[in-house]
C-alpha cells in the first residue's frame, strides 16, 4: 500500500548575488516523482548537494517545497493546517540524525521522554515505554547519564529510542551512521532492520553504498 506519493516535487533556494545585484535561484530538487510503500526499507543515495537531506526534510514535514506536493496516505502535507502538521511530525514520524541532536543539558532518560511529553502522555506510560526501549537497545545502565558522557554509538541508540517512543509509522534517518565506526554502523543497521520487522517504514539517506545492501529499494538522486 502506498504510504508516500511525491509528485513534481521541486525545491529551489533563492539568494541575492551582491556582485551581479540580482536574485539567484538554485534548484536542489526539480520535478521529482516518487512513491514509497508501507513497511519498506528505502535507501536514498547520491552525491553531496543533490538534495537527499532536503527530500527527507520535505517528507518529514519540516521543509516546505517550492513546487509540487507530498502526499502521506492521500493527505497532502503543507496544504493542511499547522496543527495537523504538528501532529503528523509528532505521531507519524521518528527522526534520526547524523549529529544525534540530543539536548546536552538533560539526561538520557529525559531526552527519550521528550516526544511523549510533547504528546501529552501520562508519566507511567511514558516511563514504561522508555524502560522497554532502553532495555531493547542495550543502554539501560546509561539512563541517568548525560549525553556528553556517552560514546557516538550510544548517543545514536538514544536518538533511536527517542525516535521510537511515540511508536511512529515512518523512521526518517539522515546519515545515521555517518559519525560511527564499522562496529557501531553494523549495530545501528541491525537495529533498523529489527524496527522494520515491526511493520515500520524506514527511509534512510546515505552516501555509503555498503548500507544499500540492507535496503529493500534504493533511490538514486
Amino acid at each position: 500500500m502506498e504510504l508516500y506519493t511525491v509528485s513534481e516535487l521541486s525545491k529551489c533556494y533563492e539568494n541575492w548575488n551582491i556582485r551581479l545585484r540580482k536574485k539567484n535561484e538554485t534548484y536542489v530538487i526539480k520535478n521529482l516523482n516518487l512513491t514509497i510503500n508501507e513497511n519498506e526499507f528505502i535507501c536514498i543515495i547520491g552525491k553531496s548537494g543533490v538534495g537527499k537531506t532536503t527530500l527527507l526534510k520535505m517528507l518529514g514535514g519540516i521543509e516546505k517545497p517550492s513546487g509540487g506536493g507530498v502526499f502521506y496516505r492521500n493527505m497532502e502535507l503543507y496544504k493542511c493546517s499547522e496543527v495537523k502538521m504538528e501532529e503528523y511530525r509528532r505521531k507519524e514520524i521518528g527522526f534520526i540524525f547524523q549529529d544525534y541532536k540530543l539536548l546536552d543539558e538533560i539526561t538520557v532518560r529525559e531526552n527519550i521522554l521528550i516526544p511523549q511529553i510533547l504528546d501529552g502522555a501520562k508519566r507511567e506510560v511514558a516511563e514504561n515505554k522508555m524502560d522497554n526501549l532502553v532495555k531493547l537497545l542495550g543502554i539501560k545502565e546509561k539512563k541517568f547519564f548525560y549525553p556528553y558522557e556517552l560514546s557516538g554509538g550510544e548517543k545514536q541508540r538514544v536518538a533511536i529510542c527517542r525516535a521510537l517512543i511515540n511508536n511512529p509509522n515512518v523512521i526518517l534517518a539522515d546519515e545515521p551512521t555517518g559519525n560511527l565506526d564499522s562496529y557501531n554502523t553494523e549495530l545501528i543497521l541491525k537495529i533498523l532492520i529489527q524496527i522494520k520487522k515491526r511493520k515500520k517504514t524506514i527511509i534512510l539517506v546515505t552516501h555509503d553504498k555498503e548500507i544499500c545492501k540492507y535496503a529493500d529499494r534504493v533511490i538514486y538522486l
Binding site: 518529514g60 499547522e82 504538528e86 541532536k101 539536548l103 538533560i106 521528550i114 516526544p115 511529553i117 510533547l118
Partner: protein, 600 residues
Amino acid sequence: MNKICKSKIVHVLRDLRENMCVFISFILAIFPLSFVLNSYLLAARNMDENRGSENIETVFLYVLIFLLIGLMLILIYILNSYIKIKAPKYSLLFILGIKKKEFWKILFKDYFATSLLMGTVSAITINFVSFCMASIMWNRSNEIVLAHIWKIYFIGTGIVCFILVLLIFVTAGIVFYYSLDKKMIDFWENINKNIIFEYENKLLYYIKPIIGIIAEIAVLVFCLNYKTIYYAAILQVISFYFIVSSTECLRWISRSNRKDNYKNIISSHALMYQYKLNSKLIVVIYLLSFIVTFVIGGFILSDLSGNTNKNYYVKYPYEYVVYGERALNDNQESYPFFQGKTEEGKIVAIFSVSSYEKITRKKFFISEKELLYISQLEPEEFKPLADKQELKIFFDKEEENYIVKDSSWEILFGENISSELENILIINDTEFESKATKIKNLWFGNVNKYKQGKLLHVWNRTEAVKKEKDESSYLSSLMYIIGAFLILEGQGIVLMKQLVNHFTTKRKYELLYILGITKKDKKKYFFAEIRKIAFLPTVLGSVTGALLLEINYFYQEGLRGEVFIFYTLLCVALLLMQYGGYYCITLLMMKLYKHDLGLV
C-alpha cells in the same frame, strides 16, 4: 592610504550596525551614571553659597558611588558579552592557523576600536542629553551660574569617557592575561562552551551553597537591628549570587521541580542550565531591581514620609531666626554666643547656661570645665558624641579640655539653619564671659523685626520650606528617572543576552519543532524560560529590596499607611511593567526563531 582608512571606517561602521544591541546597552548603562554625575557636579558647583543644599550634595555623592560600582559591573558584563559574540570567529581563526601577532591586530580592530568608538560616542551624546536634563531640572529649583555650565559639562563628559575607556582597557587586559599561558584555540573555544559541563572545583562545589546559606542567616540576624540593615542589604545580594551560581543548589531545585511534574522536564532543565549559563546576568537583574526598590525606593519613601507640614513645624519651630555680629535692638530677647571648634574640626556655637535656660525655660546646672553638647541635626544621632567623656574645644586663641556632662539631639530654634548653628555647646556663665570673643547675637520669633544686612543674617521658615520642598521634588524626579533607566537597563541586558545565546538555544527549539511541538507548548516553554531567567530574579530582587526597606522604616519611625500602600503599589506597577517588557522580548525572540527555522 585613503582607501585603507576608508575600509577601516567601513569595517568599524559595519561592526557598529552588527552590534547595535551592545551599543544600546552601553547607552542605557551610561545614562544613569552620567545623569547623577552631572546633577552632582551642578549641585557642588552652584550651591556653595546656598544653605541646605549640602544634603542634596551628599545624597548625590552616595548615589553616585553606589551607581558607579553597580554600573561598572554592568559595563564589564556588557563588554564581556561583546567578546563572547566574537569568540566563535576568533576560535575559527586559530583553527585556521592565524599568527598571534595578526590576531592581536584583528582583536584591536574588532573589539578595541569598535567598543572605544561605541563607548565614546554613546558617552558624549548621553552626557549631553543627561546634562541638559539635569540643568533644566536643577534650574527649576535653583539658579545656575552660567559661567560654570561648560566647565561642568566638559568635566562630566571627561569623567564618563575616562571610566568607559578604563573599563575597555581592563576587560581587554583580562582577556590578554587569561590567554597568556593557554592555547589560544582552547581559550576561545572555552569562552563559548556551556559552562555547565566545565569541571567545577570540588571545594567550590560545596563551599558556595554553604556561604550562600550562612550569608542568608546573617541577613536575618542583621535585620533585627535597623542600624545593620545596610549590611543585610549587601549580604542579601552576595548570598543570592552564591546560591544562584552553586551547581548543587540548582540541581536540588531543578530535581524537585521535575519530580513534581514530569512535564516540566523541558522547561525545568532551563532553570538549571540557564541559571548556570547566565548566573552573572541573573545577579545583575537581581541587583538592578534591588537597587530600584531599596535605594531609589528609599529616597522616594523618605521624601513622602518627611514632606508633611507637621514635620516642617518640628524641624523649624520659629518663623524667623536672626543672628549676626550687629547688636540687636531688643537685648532682652536675644542670646549671645560665640564660635569655637572641636578637635575633629566641627564648628560649634557656644552659649551660656543662662541663655540655654531662657531658651528652654527650664533650670539647668553646669559647673566649670563642664559642657552640654547639643546637636540640632538628624534625630538618629541621639548621642552625637558617642559616649565621649572629654572634649577639647579650640577658642579664638586658646584651647581647653571639658568634661561632657551630657550630649543629646534637640531642636532649640531650628535644624539646618546654618552650619554655624548645627552643633551647640552650653558652658558655665563665668566661663562664657572669660572665653567669649567676637560675640554674635541670636534672636528668634514669629514676627520679624529685622532686615537682612551685612552684619545680620535673617532666616525665614516659609522661604526655607519652599526651597526644601522644591529640592525634594527635584530629587524625587531624579530618582524616578534613574529608576526608569535602571529598569530599561535590565530589559536591554536581557535582550542582549537572549541575542548572544540565540545560537545555542536555537538548537533546542529546532529539535522541538522537528519532534512536533505544538504552537501552544512552544509559547509556554518560551515564556516559562523568560519567567525563570529574567522575571524570577526581578521579583526576588524587588521583594527582598522592598522588605528590607520596610523593616528599616518599621524600626526607625514607622510608615504611614498611605505611604506604605503607595510604595507597595509602585513596586507592583514596576514589576508589571517589567513583565510587559520581558513579554515583548519573548515575542521578539519567538519571531527570530520562527524566521531562523524558515517558517516565515
